[in-house]
Amino acid sequence: MKAAILTDVTKCIGCLECVAACKKTNKLDRDFPRSWHKNDGLSARNWTSIVEKPEQHYIRKQCRHCLEPACVSVCPVAALYKTKEGPVVYDPDKCMGCRYCMVACPYGIPRYDWDKPAAYVQKCHMCIDLIKQGKQPACIEACPTQATIFGDRDQLMAEAHRRIKDEPEKYINKVYGEFEVGGTSVLYVSDIDLEFLSYPLKPGTEPLPDTMKPAMEAVPPVFVGMGALMGGVYWICRRREKLQGEKEGNKE
């Protein structure tokens, strides 16, 4: 099973029960409005939030648990990793706080403890412990309208398409998270455009780690090649010097 979450924007009433449940389950501290917060409600102490849009639209924001996560591919110490269950989780004992994951994430999800001398990255981990026990994530349990549901990614995908097919006039004909950046585990169906969840220059459907692959694969050959090249130049130059020296010797 590949754990996934499907959020139906048309069903969310913005009650924030998921937010409260997440805070409680993950023992997240009280939050204060800070100068370093984005205005989407996520922060080091809010791993999920409700973004309000006009006309009574509430969009739950959380880590998308990408199938090929950019954050995992850039972390220099493998503090972020993709579990076999699907969630992308964080190991605070490895992290060194470089924040490259925050730079790389196409959805701007990971947040930081800016006010702590020992600062960690914070983001949703899809309640991996609960999932391993065979339970649902806390936010899913808490939702009173089943606007956000948990399950296997393929089944949820089928469900999403079924909903769109049943009420095509209600939904936008797109499952958000089906193809973007190679697919994500957190899916949305919606009656409004959710493009605002990612950056203005759209990342497309290519998994982001692929952008770096050619460069990173070239590393060993470049290393050896540069050594060989320099060796060649060295040899030529020395030889030329020697020949020149001999010539001058001959002249005398």
């Binding site: 370093w36 009574q56 220099p76 470089c98 925050m102 403890d113 009173p144 203005p200 220059l201």
Partner: protein, 621 residues
């Protein structure tokens, strides 16, 4: 007056100021001094110290390649200085990196936790290795001063070529990998900068402009110490580098052309202007000034060209590592303290560089000024008498004094409040206040739920009950001052009603009842609430709640009321469960509530409530 000494005094002062900010960052956290935020996780230190620093320190490996591999003897006298420059350049970058890491004491983690597909993993390994290589390359120079480690020195000098090879190979890798780091951000980096060739461009520009940085450094120190410049060799080196600049410029422009982004350069946006500025600084000006023979031989144009190339390269890295990334949150402008830390790291490196030049045989000879230094004093800079006029104050003491004073000044100007202040978000105030019934329109869409205020008042023992809810705005509230919540009379969170207070105090002429005559009329300067409301806060009231304040009614409801209702719902099974959101919010647009409210509370006494206007907003179900 002595240029070197003034220059060094300024550097010491900056180092002192910056060190104070640095100490604060380590004691309290990044947020205390930096403006980096969740949307801009990397700031000035990355864009100004680390990326440009490493690129400019690339001169080290290029020069060793030219000197030792291509055997260009004419540059041999610059070998030591370029290695020292590179070593200090990398040290500044490493220091800046440690400063901006969230867990700086774990900087060695990449050594044991491997992640070979991360460019940063590769960069950290390379930088660590290269620092070691540079150290080994440089260490024979200070060792010349003593005979103690002669064996090590001779060994290192003998196998120098191995170090040179290693240095070049490692540098090639990480100079380009610094470019690879940005390949992951196609959705953020401006298209004029984003290209799959980034690693190649980073490498080429470092190779081309690294030596130009060396030219600039030599020009600067010869000026500070009033030496003669060997401008002939320098301009030859300039010509060599300018070939590199040409290659870089061509690759970059052709890449942009091939990808069909040429029109973007001239589209007039600020990004295109930045691009043009960058290209002129980095490519065009050096090409002209160093490429044309007549110009190249004047030291003036060498100055301009090298300055321009160095600034241009820094600008390029800053653009990629920050300025050209799209931001979806608070804009980033570095704080004064970030700038100070940045400059302090660089100043300290320059001081170390000058120390090296004065102390060791970096050049043909040591660079102390014979006029001011008696033969018998081999020490570093002892005589400041010339410009201080007091023979007893030696240079060293002066610098320490400057450092300590500026350190103190630095600590004095750091605002202590930043990290602990909890700002209140401004919310537009909505009229929905006290009375028998409240219509709570949390999301302000003219559809509300009714709240039986009176019933709650009665249930909570009448008049003395207000504080049960209205003073729950603070965590662990214990006799806290009223103004700790009621900060602004126009905010939603504010239960303080100014007009209710003004009326009994004879309206406009009654201001002085609360506000002192000669002060600005603010909440903070007014009389404290408990001077009149003696029993406003019950003695010993201690309430812990989940949220520190209620920026909207949703929060108020969810963290104050719901808990109580949840209890009630468990006790009384015959009543609707008010703790369940869906009991009221059955649909997204609860028109049924609107009718209910209008029907039930449609009488003249119901005047405190702003009733939702029926049909004022066309909504579908």
């Amino acid at each position: 007056m002595d240029r070197a000494r003034i220059f060094k005094s300024i550097l010491w002062a900056i180092t002192g100021l910056g060190s104070a900010a640095l100490a604060t960052r380590f004691l309290i956290g990044l947020g205390a001094i930096a403006n980096m935020n969740d949307a801009v996780p990397w700031g000035l230190w990355k864009g100004f110290n680390i990326f440009p620093g490493i690129a400019l320190a690339g001169g080290g490996f290029v020069m060793t390649a030219i000197i030792y591999i291509m055997a260009r003897e004419e540059y041999h006298k610059y070998a030591k200085i370029s290695v020292l420059l590179a070593f200090l350049g990398y040290l500044t970058a490493a220091t800046a990196l440690v400063t901006e890491l969230g867990l700086p004491w774990l900087v060695w983690h990449p050594i044991i936790f491997w992640q070979h597909h991360s460019p940063l993993f590769e960069v950290s390994w390379c930088v660590m290795l290269y620092l070691t290589v540079l150290f080994l390359e440089f260490i024979p120079v200070p060792l010349e001063e003593t005979s103690r480690f002669a064996k090590i020195r001779i060994f290192l000098t003998k196998y120098k070529i191995v170090l040179v090879f290693l240095g070049i190979m490692i540098s090639t890798l990480h100079q380009s990998s610094l470019g690879s780091m940005w390949l992951i951000t196609p959705e953020k980096l401006h298209p004029l900068w984003y290209t799959s060739l980034l690693p190649i461009l980073f490498f080429l520009s470092a190779v081309a402009i690294g030596p130009i940085m060396l030219i600039l450094a030599i020009l600067v120190i010869t000026r500070i110490y009033r030496r003669r410049t060997d401008s002939q060799t320098l301009s030859k080196l300039g010509l060599l580098s300018v070939f590199g600049v040409l290659v870089y410029g061509l690759v970059r422009l052709i890449d942009i052309g091939v990808k069909g982004k040429f029109a973007m350069i001239f589209d007039g946006s600020w990004q295109s202007t930045f691009f043009l500025v960058e290209i002129s600084l980095m490519v065009v000006i050096p090409l002209v000034l160093m490429g044309v023979r007549r110009l190249r031989n004047s030291s003036g144009s060498l100055w301009v060209a090298s300055l321009s190339a160095v600034i241009g390269l820094g600008f390029d890295r800053a653009n990629i590592a920050g300025i050209m990334l799209s931001v979806d949150g608070p804009m980033y402008t570095p704080t004064l303290f970030e700038v100070l830390v940045s400059l302090a790291i660089i100043s300290a490196a320059i001081l170390a560089f000058l120390f090296g030049i004065e102390r060791f045989k970096i050049w043909d000879t040591k660079w102390e000024d014979p006029r001011e230094k008696p033969e018998s004093h081999p020490d570093f800079d002892r005589s400041a008498e010339v410009w201080l006029g007091t023979p007893r104050l030696a240079g060293r003491s002066v610098y320490s004094l400057i450092f300590v004073v500026s350190l103190a000044v630095g600590f004095a100007i750091i605002p202590g409040k930043r990290i602990y202040s909890d700002g209140v978000q401004e919310v537009v105030s909505q009229k929905a206040y006290g009375g028998d019934t409240l219509c709570i329109d949390g999301n302000r869409d003219n559809y509300g739920v009714t709240f039986d205020h009176k019933a709650h008042v009665v249930r909570n023992s009448n008049d003395s009950s207000c504080v049960l809810c209205h003073h729950m705005n603070q965590p662990n509230d214990k006799q806290s001052g009223c103004y700790s919540c009621h900060r602004d009379m126009y905010q939603t969170t504010d239960a303080f009603r100014h007009d209710w207070h003004a009326d009994p105090a004879n309206a406009n002429i009654g201001c002085m009842e609360c506000h002192a005559i000669d002060q600005e009329r603010l909440a903070t300067t007014a009389k404290a609430c408990d001077q009149c409301h003696k029993d406003l806060i019950p003695p010993g009231a201690t309430i812990t709640i989940e949220k520190y304040m209620a920026p909207s009614y949703t929060d108020a409801m969810h963290f104050l009321c719901i808990d109580c209702h949840r209890q009630k719902a468990e006790e009384l099974t015959d009543k609707p469960d008010l703790a369940l959101c869906t009991t009221c919010h059955r649909w997204k647009h609860p028109n049924h509530l609107q009718d209910e409210v209008a029907e039930k509370y449609n009488h003249p006494y119901f005047n405190h409530v702003v009733l939702p206007q029926k049909g004022s907003k066309e909504k579908g179900h």
